[in-house]
Symmetry: C2
Subunit: 436 residues, 2 copies
Amino acid sequence: MTDDPAAWLAERARAYRYEVTQVPLGELPRWHLGDDLAHDTRRFFTIEGIAVETNFGRVPRWTQPIINQPEIGILGFLYKRIAGVPHLLAQAKMEPGNRVMVQLSPTVQATPSNYTRVHGGRATPFLERFLGDTRGRVLVDLLQSEQGSRYLRKRNRNMIVEVKGDEELALDAEFRWLSLHELRALLASGRKLNMNARTVLSCLPYDPTSEPPARDAFREAVVTSHLAADDDELARTLSWLADRKTELAIDVRRIKLGELDQWICDRDSIRHASGNFFRVIGVEVTAAEGREIAAWKQPMFAPVHPGTIAFVCQRRAGRLEFLVQARAEPGFIDRVELGATLQVSPANYARREDMPPFAELLACPPEWVRFRAEQSDDGGRFYHDDALHLVIEVPENEPIVAPPTFRWVTLGILRRLMRCGYLVDIEARSLLTCLS
Amino acid sequence: MTDDPAAWLAERARAYRYEVTQVPLGELPRWHLGDDLAHDTRRFFTIEGIAVETNFGRVPRWTQPIINQPEIGILGFLYKRIAGVPHLLAQAKMEPGNRVMVQLSPTVQATPSNYTRVHGGRATPFLERFLGDTRGRVLVDLLQSEQGSRYLRKRNRNMIVEVKGDEELALDAEFRWLSLHELRALLASGRKLNMNARTVLSCLPYDPTSEPPARDAFREAVVTSHLAADDDELARTLSWLADRKTELAIDVRRIKLGELDQWICDRDSIRHASGNFFRVIGVEVTAAEGREIAAWKQPMFAPVHPGTIAFVCQRRAGRLEFLVQARAEPGFIDRVELGATLQVSPANYARREDMPPFAELLACPPEWVRFRAEQSDDGGRFYHDDALHLVIEVPENEPIVAPPTFRWVTLGILRRLMRCGYLVDIEARSLLTCLS
């Protein structure tokens, strides 16, 4: 085994043989396209239609397909201090939707259907440390939302559970303890930590003592911003968010796929008449590792155009603050969550003036960019869905006028908000992990 | 003006003249019974159908009418220390559904439709202290769920806003500053504080220094139970609740009223074929105060049988703990919240063995009862819906076996859970206020 985590991950990727090809939806055995697209067991997930009416954004009403997956999965990292340094147990895992198919996932990612093994299959390693009487010491256990534009009220359980420092776990080849420092380096190069790993890591309480010395003024400002989180400002931010929830209206009604407007549903795929947004496609997967071979077909969501998510930050009154927006999405548990400054697929917009606020900052001077890497979305449901993750620091002397649905917050406030669940969306959490 | 708050409230009640009569649904002008029951402006609220499938409780699937009222209302008390003693500004308010029609409400109860005055009407007094730039110092600002069996994902904003001690407010006759002690005495006699007042008061941070000296061993144990709220126990309780959310499944689908099964929808009312549960009826209201006269007709939910909600508590390892249950209700924001030990309308059950756990404690020895008073539900939507509120202390030597969906918690833990919103249901909050 190599010492370099990136080399180890590359080695793990070579241990897998896999082939993923697109197939027509009509060729998915046991999946039926009717009022919804469902497996004949009606397990896993279904793809349904929703009709949305809202006063948020520029489009007052639309219909779209959405994934209904009511099960709450566990996304869990084991945590251990090795020689005093926090380490997390990562798993090299193949997910068929990702362009870079083998990435690091949490120690465990499993739904109740997986772990009660209703479908057969092998036991999930380390699951017992997250469940029932054998559960270890819990550092994090938070329900957090998933993509509100793709999933109908889906949430997962983000967990970090401690293993005692003197306890040695027997590890299969796909598992490895990595320090936060090593994880950070992998994040910076992009497409090496999967979305589940990023969302769980975002929930890890910030511990300045486990940080390496700041390498530059920006890293130093990030540390200070993490420590700025007073009770009064938190209360004001929650009141501001309640104001936004009160103003924003969104009505979501589940409809039949046949009632979708402007969407074409046929044996090939489900796609928008404009050619934009995303398509629901079929994929055929064959994966082999050693002597184990698995083959299956399933539907996936494939974005038509690549997306970008960006945090805009600025030093304000001496401290680094981040511009978040109160976003309404049809699949959110409670309609509005805090999102990144910008979340956009520019090619979906015919006219520049329809683009969301701050889209012009995508063309900012390169010296403003503090983080830039592509990261993959959930490769179990989304096909070739890599989003550019950007953190842009706008110089102090550049005025930024934020609309009322936007607010400047410190990282400390953002982290305290996350402790409640359903307040900070998954894209913002993914960016937050890239920052920390 | 009399000094005794109960006498003042009775005097206020005499200042109103009102008449409330039941009328057939078909005689409500501008309300239309079709796929739903809606006002022709489609404002206010609609009554729709839902189809529920769940693994919670004894009934795996049913349909029912439910109220869809997406607006988030403000329920707000002004707060002021008078001679060092916390006081809240209560309003004597008529609500047509209540048997005792004039009760104390928060200073403000208003929806955005009210306060933006889209229907005309007079301005809401003190509203500006809860909104925008004129908002006072916020002590409480929490979104909390409403009745999950009657409302589809409804929540209100529970607010307490401070007025500076030296600021004198001009008060109309229906307003009065009342100390916590005075409010408590009114609560004990029943049907004097409305549901909105009770839910907001439940969110007031517990301040042992503002408590009168404990009058007896039970009050003393309540104070101690409030102070027991350590971080580890909170984390364990949240993990337990996440376990319950993971196990419990509930699917809620909005359907047309005509698709309701076992429910009769006609010009008279919407009612269950068994004669049980509740009816949707029409009411005609005429109310006069001084020279102002208002008259309107609206639908309301009328329970067929009266309900009881009860907390069971017990001294365990020397401290007073309360038995809460993880309840799934179709209208909850996130499927499961903590509810009181028992929430039941016994007459809905044909057989004693179908009753929920702990129903037998309703026949407990009278010396176990620590609180007993009838309290009214929201008299703006519910007709003659008074629920008996009970707190029962089971002696230490009586063993209680709690099913896995139940858990013993201290009042301190329950209050910390409430700070997140959507974790403690409205019936439990109402009981908590009666206790404190």
